[in-house]
């Protein structure tokens, strides 16, 4: 199987990284190479790390409402850095009514607290496959 590299990060100021770590481990156990950047990262830091590590997708976690501003900010940072081809997926405590605006802002997919791990892994696999398909 092709080795997919993904970045899991937590933008913003809240320090609750249980969700991010849980997903990072689940992806590792599904065969991904997961670059974990830890808590309290700025969108620019996440974008720079994603580029250096040549990941095929970025996963973001938010537990305290920061997603509304921060998820789109990461999409933006990637785009400014010339890497708008790297898809961004997000999860955490995200109210259903916030989802359409996130998708509108360019987040590929949002996972709400009820989403099954298998669904998340399948979504990352698909996002990565598509990103690799675009590489010449």
């Amino acid at each position: 199987m092709k080795k997919y590299r993904v970045l899991i990060g937590k933008p913003g100021l809240d320090g609750h990284d249980r969700g991010a770590k849980f997903i990072a481990r689940a992806l590792r156990d599904a065969g991904f190479e997961v670059i974990y950047t830890g808590i309290r990262r700025t969108p620019d830091e996440i974008a720079a790390a994603a580029i250096h590590e040549d990941v095929a997708a970025v996963g973001l976690s938010s537990m305290s409402g920061g997603h509304v501003r921060l998820f789109p900010a990461v999409v933006d940072a990637l785009s400014r850095a010339g890497a708008s081809d790297i898809p961004v997926l997000g999860g955490g405590i995200i109210p259903a009514e916030d989802v359409p605006a996130m998708i509108e802002a360019g987040i590929r997919q949002i996972f709400t607290p009820g989403t099954k791990v298998e669904t998340i892994i399948a979504a990352f696999t698909e996002a990565c496959a598509q990103q690799h398909g675009q590489r010449e």
């Binding site: 080795k3 997961v34 950047t37 590590e53 890497a83």
Partner: protein, 311 residues
């Protein structure tokens, strides 16, 4: 993949070009040889490949972050390759060394790449060596290779380095006693990190017994507190001192030749292994014993015309 364009990007120091080039080699994609052959040899000549190895938790990543800080204050561009094991069960990996280096995340002259062993501790040497040269060609004057080192197989990766520092800390007693005998074979410098903790002084004295020459004891053991940035500048000075020495007395060149051999063998093994696995898709049950089957297989391989495009 447009290789000339990629070469141009990476020689210009562009982050994305460097990153893509490393992936090309790590994933063994077509064009990898052409890319590697096109790297700036003068820059590769000049780079210092510094190995940092030691038990997990000794403070290697924190130390790397601090060394990078010292180098950046001297306006030196630096690359970091942080290697961690892949899970033997899933083949995946969780790579977290970057967390301790995030202070440099936005510096365009700090190139950080995490790498998983992908279950081929051997096969890793080729990829890591190539990644180091790609970083060098992108203008890095120093490339730091961080690896977890406690056993023999991990030490293979260390042999890629021009100079190796073994990072130790108090509280790793058993690991350290076990490796003491072989220390001088792998390490040029011993770093006693966490010098703020109880037991550091004793560890330093204990390590002193590794060297018979009192001068070496002075020069080759450094105490640091990586989490507070203490002792880092002295360590960096020592590293550059030994680099100069090794360049002058030819040891560095000799090590480069040794790592050339190691990497060549490593790639060859990878290539042959892939071909063997391909051939084994039709099992050879005409032989009653696996050893006999292996001999037949190898004989067949030697007589084969190699299709380079396929490798």
């Amino acid at each position: 993949m447009n290789i000339p364009h990629l070469l141009q990007q990476l020689h210009g120091g562009e982050a994305r070009g460097v990153a893509r080039a490393i992936s090309l080699v790590e994933d063994q994609l077509p064009g990898a040889e052409q890319l590697l052959a096109g790297l700036d040899r003068q820059r590769i000549e000049k780079v210092l490949i510094l190995g940092l190895t030691g038990p997990p938790g000794a403070g290697k990543s924190t130390l790397t972050g601090e060394l990078v800080g010292v180098l950046r204050r001297q306006d030196i561009r630096v690359g970091i390759i942080a290697i961690d094991p892949s899970s033997p069960i899933s083949g995946g990996a969780l790579l977290g060394d970057r967390i301790r280096m995030m202070q440099h995340a936005l510096d365009p002259d700090v190139v950080i790449r995490s790498m998983a062993t992908r279950g081929r501790l051997g096969g890793l040497c080729g990829s890591a060596g190539a990644a180091a040269r790609i970083m060098a060609a992108s203008g890095c004057r120093v490339v730091i290779l961080e690896t977890v080192g406690i056993g023999q197989s991990e030490m293979d990766i260390v042999r890629l380095a021009d100079l190796t520092a073994l990072v130790l800390a108090p509280g790793f007693g058993d690991d350290i006693q076990a490796m003491k005998a072989g220390i001088l074979e792998v390490a040029d410098l011993l770093v006693v990190n966490k010098a703020d903790q109880a037991g550091a002084r004793r560890l330093q004295l204990d390590m002193g017994t590794v060297f018979s020459d009192p001068g070496d004891r002075e020069d080759r053991i450094c105490a640091t507190v990586a989490s507070e940035g203490a002792g880092i500048e002295t360590l960096m000075e020592r590293i550059f001192f030994f680099e100069q020495l090794y360049r002058q007395d030819g040891r560095l060149q000799e090590r480069r030749r040794r790592s050339f051999t190691l990497e060549t063998l490593d790639w060859a093994t990878e290539m042959v292994k892939a071909r063997l696995q391909e051939k084994m898709k039709t099992p050879r049950f005409e032989c009653v014993e696996p050893r006999q089957a292996a001999l037949e297989l190898v004989r067949g391989l030697v007589n084969e015309k190699v299709n380079y495009k396929k490798i």
